[in-house]
């Protein structure tokens, strides 16, 4: 645990500290900018963008070597990757706008073809004399070994710029993500805002290439926003919660990776984020699985309790085992299914409320009130005591149960 704490507190060496800070910033940028794609239901566009960076990396390397340079300059490679990623984005837009192919087909086509082109270029580079040691394969899965200070600066600056741009553009992007028609009616250029959204995701992808690699950067754009969605119903909260989840995943993942051998940074970061997702899926307060199971259970109990009491009131035998157990546990029936004193009293109340509702529906034509009758809502929650008194007056004197008179 100690090496992990060291890494978490930035004490595990210069390089590990750089990677940790860079990963945290990148995670924040990816989480917040990916949210808009997720809300726009276009999460997988980022997958195509990420794969479309590969040919750019190869082309940039070839061009830089042809110009007599080193070919491994990170800034140059990132510029190249941004160019082809942008071309990929434009092609997706072009195919979906121009033909009847759906967006998923366009995404898949761009993704596969650009990745294929990238692989072809990598084999070209392997045949170049300067290409043997290029190490461009590191961009597939990311490689933090031997990360330079300049590289960390690029990631930090790029990540901050992406976060700032997200903050600047949050209003129009939220609007377009939820209701593009309304946004268009307000005078926003929806197509341009869509492109900005994807451009932001592209920028994050490019910045993250070195750290997590082009296949896993997709996870950093998608998983935090999907996770954040479990915790809130408000769009601008989703953005920043997603950023926080992404940032923490990046930072903690980098620390774990630095503290143990054979722990590649990219996959560990993704798995930390996936852990946060799994916890949220299960335990989030409203949208989580456990919460909705509990909600379902409570509903079930209310229905069974009420049906059981109505059956008692009408002196029908209860055969449903769950209802019997429920009523027996509350002391409303005996083990043989016969109502106790308390049970008869409760049944009488339920039965009277039912009749009150019937009167209420006759008196009030207002569906806003009587429409709330679902057999479960207590009548006291809908009508005032005076109104209920009026219903009782019309009902007449209370009728005893069991005697039939």
């Amino acid at each position: 645990m100690s090496p992990f704490l060291d890494a978490l507190l930035l004490q595990a060496g210069y390089n590990a500290a750089l990677v940790g800070i860079g990963a945290g910033l990148l995670g924040f940028a990816a989480g917040s900018s990916g949210t808009f794609l997720f809300l726009r239901k276009r999460a997988l566009v980022s997958d195509a963008v990420a794969h479309a960076t590969l040919p750019g990396v190869g082309l940039a390397f070839i061009v830089m070597v042809a110009l007599g340079g080193d070919g491994r300059s990170l800034a140059g490679l990132l510029i190249g990757s941004a160019v082809t990623a942008w071309i990929g984005l434009m092609l997706i837009e072009w195919i979906t706008r121009r033909t009847r192919l759906a967006e998923d087909a366009a995404i898949g086509a761009v993704l596969g073809v650009f990745f294929g082109l990238g692989i072809v270029l990598l084999t070209v580079i392997q045949t170049m004399s300067a290409g043997r040691q290029a190490g461009l394969e590191g961009f597939l899965l990311g490689s933090t070994a031997g990360m330079l200070f300049e590289d960390a600066i690029i990631i930090a600056v790029g990540g901050s710029v992406a976060v700032f741009a997200t903050w600047l553009l949050r209003r129009p992007m939220t609007l377009v993500a939820f209701d593009p028609d309304y946004a268009a009616a307000l005078g926003y250029d929806v197509r341009r805002i869509d492109l900005m959204m994807m451009g932001l995701a592209m920028a994050v992808t490019v910045i993250g290439l070195k750290l997590v690699g082009l296949i896993l950067i997709v996870a950093m754009l998608i998983i935090p926003s999907v996770t954040a969605r479990f915790w809130t119903e408000r769009a601008h909260h989703v953005v920043w919660i997603a950023g926080g989840i992404g940032g923490v995943s990046g930072y903690v993942g980098a620390a774990i990776s630095a503290s143990a051998p054979s722990m590649p940074t990219g996959p560990v970061i993704v798995l930390v984020a996936a852990g946060a997702f799994a916890i949220s899926l299960l335990f989030a307060p409203v949208r989580g699985v456990v919460a909705s199971l509990l909600r379902h259970r409570r509903f079930q109990v209310r229905v069974h309790r009420r049906q059981g009491l109505l059956a008692l009131a009408h002196q029908h035998p209860i055969r449903e085992p769950f209802t019997l157990r429920l009523l027996a546990r509350e002391g409303l029936v005996r083990a043989d299914g016969v109502a106790t004193q308390a049970g008869r009293a409760q049944a009488a109340k339920v039965s009277r409320d039912e009749r009150r509702w019937a009167i209420a529906r006759e008196i009030h034509q207002d569906a806003g009130l009587t429409g709330r009758y679902d057999g479960l809502t207590p009548i006291e929650e809908v009508f005032t005591a005076d109104e209920i008194g009026e219903f009782d007056r019309r009902l007449g004197a209370p009728v005893g149960l069991g005697g039939g008179s």
Binding site: I95, T99, F114, G116, V120, T127, P264, P267, L281
Partner: protein, 311 residues
């Protein structure tokens, strides 16, 4: 076109063609059902599948790895469906969460185990190695009639051909059901066709194709084969049967032309080494799709250009 061709190029071309057709056939239906990216998800989870298979069996053997990859594909499909339902998340995001997580787990497992002594690495799984599937014992075209030489054909060829035949057979058997369920799921259910089961079966068939093909063409490039030929075919015709035939033709052209360009292209430009055949096949299929987008007779959206659509 003599001994060298039979020895070095014939089997890779055949394997590439079978792989392309095996992926393109289910791809037709996936595209029409707007499930094109299922192929993307499946091809990413192939990696964790083969890593787990390697960890369990301790050897790099083809059959356990294929089983592992198929298992991973099924697990992924079930997980995607679970996440979608339980979390009420839209399908694209659910896919993105599941397949990237499984892929990350696969890479981590691979790094954690000592696989340096065996030929199992990420790049191989991603890119495939079509060029290495040569028929070493062939001495010329007459080897095709020589049982001793035929016995040394790369086993991938037989496997890929069998999978391709299986998929063709399945498609022929379920053709009518697939056609109805793809275009009108409600009508299909009214007719008593098990549409949900059919959809799941289609995804599993796609997984089988992807798993069989990844060994030869690499898992990522499988995506191009799933999508590009059927998407191009979709722009050529309004009839499903014709679309399937077009997609088969496009897949074949991509495989053959891609291999030839990768293998012989550099030589024409004075180069020495061949390029990645799998990558080139994907690139050619992309060019075909690009041409179809520009010139395909049925490229327009219905309603966007009435004259175009009826002409």
């Amino acid at each position: 076109m003599g001994t060298d061709f039979v020895q070095f190029s014939l089997t890779p071309i055949l394997i590439g063609t079978f792989a392309a057709i095996a992926c393109a056939l289910p791809g037709n239906f996936l595209i029409l059902r707007r499930q094109a990216l299922i192929g993307d998800a499946i091809s990413h989870v192939v990696l964790p599948g083969i890593v787990v298979a390697f960890l369990v069996t301790g050897a790099v053997a083809a059959i356990p790895m294929l089983i592992g990859a198929a298992g991973a594909a099924i697990v992924a499909v079930i997980l995607i469906e679970t996440v979608k339902r339980l979390g009420r998340i839209e399908p694209g995001a659910a896919m993105g969460v599941v397949f990237t997580t499984l892929f990350a787990a696969g890479v981590l497992l691979l790094e954690q185990t000592d696989t340096s002594s065996v030929h199992l690495d990420v790049e191989h799984a991603l890119m495939g190695n079509l060029e290495s599937l040569i028929w070493f014992r062939a001495t010329g075209w007459d080897s095709l009639l020589d049982p001793a030489a035929l016995a040394t054909l790369p086993p991938e060829l037989g496997r890929m051909a069998a999978v391709c035949a299986l998929i063709v057979g399945l498609m022929l058997v379920f053709w009518r059901w697939l056609k109805i369920a793809t275009f009108d799921e409600g009508f299909a259910q009214a007719l008593g066709i098990p549409a949900a089961g059919l959809g799941f079966g289609l995804v599993i068939t796609a997984a089988v194709a992807a798993v069989a093909a990844f060994d030869a063409v690499g898992s990522i490039i499988v995506i191009a084969m799933f999508i590009c030929p059927p998407a191009a075919a979709r722009l050529m015709t309004n009839r499903l049967a014709a679309q399937v035939w077009w997609s088969v033709a496009f897949a074949t052209v991509s495989a053959v032309l891609g291999y030839v360009l990768a293998g012989y292209g550099p030589l024409w430009f004075g180069g020495q080494n061949a390029l990645s055949a799998a990558g080139m096949i994907a690139a050619v299929s992309g060019v075909i799709l690009g041409l179809a987008v520009l010139f395909g007779p049925h490229r327009a959206r219905v309603g966007a250009g009435r004259a175009d659509a009826s002409g």
